[in-house]
């Protein structure tokens, strides 16, 4: 059983943060590893292949962004960014470098645990199911059909592509640029306005209350997040 415990690597130079995360994660039955700087982080990831990494952007030896890029050269599992700099550019940059999610300091344990669980679960789903379910919504990836409480709904081709991209990345934050590139193609440029219109249309069809969306959630200044 113990070998099935998901392993979490926390990279942070603040001893206090590491201590409290160690106590909390171990209580929640995770395997806990810690690194105090970028070099240690790369080394530990290489030798232990953790299931998820929590990475602080402010490290003493190298820039957190740089560590992220180096990790992503081979490491495909989720990475959560921790940042005190509530500077959205930094977060967007990290997400575009394929960080899976971010948490701003100070944060509460529940918040972080929820993200961790979500990302780990999604990682499993993606490998298995051709059918995805999100509360009242069911997406059949094979037949390209979408059901709202068992009633099929009609989507345009672009709307479906958009929803599909959200669904297979559920739980992850997706930046505007990432969405545009993946759904509209690499030359789609910077038409955030465009995206906003499609999201509004999609919400009309898939949300129970489009004015108070529960599935397709806006992350101000960064992008969108899909899923519960």
């Amino acid at each position: 059983m113990s070998s099935l415990k998901p392993a979490i690597l926390v990279v942070d130079d603040e001893i206090q943060i590491r201590k409290f995360l160690k106590v909390s994660f171990e209580a929640h039955e995770y395997k806990f590893m810690e690194a105090t700087n970028g070099k240690e982080a790369l080394l530990l990831t290489g030798s232990n292949n953790p299931d998820l990494i929590i990475l602080d952007l402010g490290l003493p030896d190298m820039d957190g962004q740089e560590v992220l890029v180096k990790l992503r050269e081979w490491y495909r599992k989720p990475i959560i960014i921790l940042s005190v700099r509530d500077d959205d550019n930094n977060i967007v940059r990290a997400l575009e470098r394929e960080a899976s999610d971010y948490v701003r300091k100070p944060f509460s344990l529940n918040e972080l645990l929820a993200r961790v669980k979500n990302l780990l679960k999604n990682d499993e789903i993606k490998q298995t199911a051709p059918q995805l379910e999100f509360s009242h919504l069911k997406i059949d990836l094979e037949s390209r059909r979408v059901f709202f409480d068992e009633n099929e709904i009609r989507l345009t081709a672009t709307e479906y592509d958009l929803l599909k991209f959200f669904a297979i990345n559920s739980g992850k934050i997706l930046t505007h640029t990432q969405i545009l590139k993946n759904v509209w193609g690499p030359n789609s440029g910077d038409h955030t306005q465009y995206l906003r219109v499609y999201v509004a249309h999609l919400r009309q069809k898939i949300e129970k209350k489009p004015s108070n969306p529960q599935l397709l959630i806006n992350e101000p200044g960064v992008g969108y997040r899909f899923g519960s």
Binding site: D13, E14, Q16, I17, K19, F20, L21, V23, S24, E26, A27, H28, G58, P60, V84, R85, K105, P106, F107, S108, L109, N110, E111, L112, L113
Partner: protein, 891 residues
């Protein structure tokens, strides 16, 4: 494609275009000038002006009459009705009451349009400007439109022709460059026959005066000639406007490269007869023109110098540029100037020199000039000294007698000595060889004496030789023909050699003068380069000018209403008049003061420091001690002023840059501060928030050991937060001056023990070694802030030391202080940072966490509040040692 090529070919000349645009542009800033041009008095210029004024006034335009002379003509006076007339300025001069146009009042009233009649009028002495047209320039600069009237005979370049026609001297003239400013010229034309009729009817002058005027001036022939002149002047003007228009609108014209004229200027009144036609020719060709003076090194008399200055100002008044150059050969000099300035035509006068001088100077000037001029056209103007009455004898002799008085003594001593030597030697050498002694003396003295003295000496020697030595002696007769031959040969060779050595000397002098000037400019440039700050530049510049000119000098730089000045002629001591001149120069960017046209009653000569964008300041030269300012000095000051301007520009740029980088660095500081404060606050806050939320988590909560750990972390986080907040509060209290120390005697041992206790409560695992002193160390301190200072140092040591290393504290005495040394085992202090680490918000490694860079700064402030001091140095075995010096209690 074809069209494109044509367009390429017809591209307007960039220089010409620039000039036109600049003129257009400057027209936009200033008021518009409308000139009513007439051929003669009485054609109705004033009438026409007033009529249009009434029409404009009727249209609601603010037009006033600044100054109008109606000559009591009835129809003209009627036109004045209903117009606002400015009061005249009343001046008393030599008992006479004079009425003048009041420029200051006009500037204060600032109407839209003002009428100022009689453009060529010369103002009363003591007025600000010598001439009325200078008043008008000021009005235009102030943005006021001006209507004015003038007769053709008063236009500088035409006045000569008018004089030729009617034979009367025209004294009051207006420079052509002023008329170039006119936006519109309106010719008031009147047929001569009708004019004469008007005159007879007494409509122009009262009858007696009319009679006199008719005889002198109003003849049909004269009037016709004047009419033609006026119409032609206006036509030329129209032509020029058309060309300007074509330039601006890119309409191609026949001329490709702009013609440029050069006229030779020399130190005589005749030069005027060359300069005026040059201006006319330049106008007709629409060319720019240069007046060039070649200084061949012959010293000028004061009179000649004054002619030269007058000719220069004439060139400038007529819109030309003055260039002076040194060359022993005027032809070569002229050609050099011409080539440097892309001159297309050269204008010279036909020489009136005697044939022998022409031969001595290597042939007639004009033919030599033609030989080497290449593709430059040469115009020769004949008989340039016509009509100049030889009132004064200008050239006492072609040779210069100026310095001779000092020379004559030397001359006669030399003559006497040579004669004495010759008499002593004659019996040994024979009278023929004696001649060589004389020849030698003449040659040598050519190096020191003037040309006239050498000539004189040669003559005297010839006489002496003949009288005393050539048989028959004691007579001036010569017996033998070979003696006669020898004597004449002697005389000729002595003269020629003397002349040649003299010329050689002049050339050398010239060369050394030029070298001196180059050297002076170089030295100034070098000194200005090392000058520090704007003040430094001004000081270097003024002391340099004072040294070279041997006059008292003032340099003022006026920047954003802040004045900086230097020089021994102190600005603060100037009287109101001089300050007014300085203000005028600053405002107008033109020369003024003594020896100029503007405000010439002042005791200084003022040169503006004109830069690329604006007038930076003024150089003032105190000319009280001199009677004349010669051309060389003026051009020297101009040269220096240019150098000073570029130095000022450099300094101002530097200052601007410094200001900018200061703002930049304070921005950077602000950013790092914000970042570090936010980091320092948020990190403990995240720990507290995280731990507290974990404590609420039911799974974590189950284990006793977990909850204890978490509670402990919350405690650590809060003390850390508390430290940051306290540091910030302490710093703001220090900054606001609210913190005051209460000094009491206290035991240093107790102070340190107490600090250690407090520190341990936060960091119990850190080892601290403190050896209590064995002496009784009483210090005079404020225990609370001293303790805080020590805690801050301990905390700093804790942050930088490895966990297993201790912090060592020692107590010692040094003079009247107790020295508290706190040693850590961290990386130590980098050399050069010993002072900086005590500065606010300074962090040795900004990316390293911990601290916002206030701790040590607070230590320094706290200790200094108690009259103590702080220092830091590295321990020889690694780590830093902080020393706090706290004053001993003296009991």
């Amino acid at each position: 494609m074809k069209d494109l090529r044509i367009e390429e070919d017809f591209k307007p000349d960039p220089d010409g275009l620039l000039l036109s645009i600049k003129r257009e542009e400057s027209k936009g800033h200033r008021g518009k000038l409308k000139v009513f041009l007439g051929m003669v008095a009485g054609v109705g210029k004033t009438y026409a002006m007033l009529r249009s004024a009434r029409i404009l006034k009727g249209n609601g335009i603010d037009i006033i009459v600044g100054f109008v002379e109606t000559h009591k003509r009835k129809d003209t006076e009627e036109q004045l009705f209903g117009l606002e007339i400015m009061p005249r300025q009343v001046l008393f001069y030599k008992g006479k009451q004079l009425e003048e146009f009041d420029i200051d009042l006009a500037l204060k009233r600032k109407p839209q349009i003002i009428i100022v009649d009689e453009l060529a009028h010369t103002n009363a002495p003591e007025s600000r400007n010598k001439k009325r047209y200078l008043d008008i320039i000021e009005l235009l600069k102030a943005g006021i439109d001006v209507y004015t009237a003038v007769n053709v005979q008063h236009i500088e370049s035409r006045s000569h022709t008018v004089k030729d026609i009617i034979g009367v001297d025209i004294r009051e003239t207006v420079p052509d460059s002023f008329l170039d400013l006119a936006d519109e010229i309106i010719v008031i034309d009147f047929p001569p026959a009708d004019l004469l009729k008007r005159l007879k009817e007494g409509l122009i002058y009262s009858t007696e005066r009319a009679q006199a005027a008719e005889v002198n001036f109003f003849k049909v022939g004269n009037l016709t000639a004047l009419r033609e002149l006026a119409l032609r002047a206006a036509a030329e003007r129209v032509d020029k406007d058309l060309r300007d228009y074509k330039q601006i609108h890119g309409i191609s014209d026949t001329w490709k490269s702009s013609p440029r004229l050069l006229v030779a200027v020399f130190a005589s009144p005749y030069a005027e007869n060359l300069i005026r036609p040059a201006r006319q020719l330049a106008d007709a060709l629409n060319a720019s023109w240069i007046g060039a003076y070649i200084d061949n090194g012959n010293p000028l008399t004061d009179l000649e110098k004054s002619f030269l200055v007058k000719n220069f100002s004439l060139v400038q008044e007529l819109g030309g540029e003055v260039i002076t150059s040194q060359d022993e050969d005027p032809v070569r000099g002229l050609m050099r100037v011409a080539k440097q300035n892309n001159v297309t035509q050269i204008i010279i006068g036909k020489s009136q020199r005697p044939w022998w001088q022409t031969i001595l100077n290597g042939g007639p000037l004009i033919s030599r000039l033609m030989r080497i001029s290449g593709d430059i056209d040469i115009y020769s103007i004949s008989n340039i000294d016509r009509k100049i009455k030889k009132k004064k004898k200008l050239f006492t002799t072609p040779l210069n007698l100026e310095k001779n008085e000092n020379e004559y003594g030397l001359l006669f001593i030399l003559v006497f000595l040579s004669w004495f030597l010759a008499s002593a030697l004659v019996q040994f050498l024979g009278y023929l060889s004696i001649g060589f002694i004389f020849l030698l003396v003449v040659c040598l003295s050519g190096l020191y004496l003037s040309r006239l003295s050498t000539l004189l000496m040669a003559t005297i020697f010839a006489g002496l030789h003949n009288f005393f030595f050539i048989p028959p002696i004691y007579t001036f007769t010569v017996e033998r023909s070979e003696d006669f031959m020898m004597l004449s040969m002697f005389f000729i060779s002595a003269t020629v050699i003397g002349h040649l050595t003299n010329r050689l000397r002049t050339r050398e002098k010239n060369l050394s003068y030029r070298e001196e000037r180059t050297l002076a400019a170089y030295c100034l440039a070098k000194e200005l380069l090392t000058a520090k700050g704007l003040r430094g530049v001004l000081e270097v510049g003024s002391s340099y000018l004072e040294r070279t000119l041997a006059m008292r000098v003032l340099i003022l730089c006026s920047q954003d209403s802040k004045d900086e000045y230097a020089g021994s002629w102190i600005f603060g001591y100037l009287n109101v008049r001089e300050k007014a001149v300085i203000d005028w120069v600053l405002k107008n960017g033109q020369h003024a003061g003594r020896f100029t046209q503007t405000l010439s009653a002042s005791s200084g000569y003022y040169i503006p420091l004109v830069g690329k964008e604006k007038v930076y300041g003024v150089i003032g030269v105190n000319t009280e001690s001199i009677a004349n300012l010669d051309v060389e000095k003026i051009s020297e000051i101009d040269n220096f002023s240019n150098q000073i301007v570029s130095a000022i520009e450099r300094e101002l740029f530097h200052e601007k840059f410094k200001k900018y980088s200061l703002i930049e660095s304070s921005h950077r500081l602000y950013r790092t501060l914000l970042e570090s404060v936010s980091h320092e606050l948020k990190t403990p806050l995240s720990a507290i928030k995280g731990c507290a939320s974990a404590l609420l988590d039911p799974i974590v909560n189950k284990s006793q050991s977990f909850t204890k750990d978490l509670a402990n972390e919350i405690l650590i986080g809060s003390s850390r937060l508390q430290r940051v907040v306290e540091n910030l509060l302490d710093m703001s209290r220090i900054d606001s001056g609210l913190i005051k120390s209460k000094l009491v005697p206290f035991s240093a041992n107790d102070l340190i023990q107490s600090a250690i206790r407090k520190f341990r409560s936060d960091f119990p695992e850190r080892l601290i070694e403190f050896a209590e002193s064995n002496f009784d160390a009483e210090v005079l301190c404020d225990p609370i802030i001293s303790e805080q200072a020590i805690i801050n140092i301990l905390h700093n040591a804790h942050m930088y030391s490895p966990e297993n290393k201790p912090i060592c504290i020692n107590l010692g005495k040094e003079k009247e202080f107790i020295k508290v040394s706190i040693r850590d085992f961290g990386p130590g202090v980098k050399s050069g940072e010993e002072e900086m680490i005590f500065e606010k918000f300074y962090r040795v490694t900004p990316e390293r966490t911990g601290g916002i860079g206030l701790g040590l700064s607070i230590v320094k402030n706290f200790i200094e509040l108690q009259n103590g001091k702080v220092a830091v140095q590295n321990h020889q075995e690694g780590g830093a040692v902080f020393s706090l010096f706290i004053p001993l209690e003296k009991s």
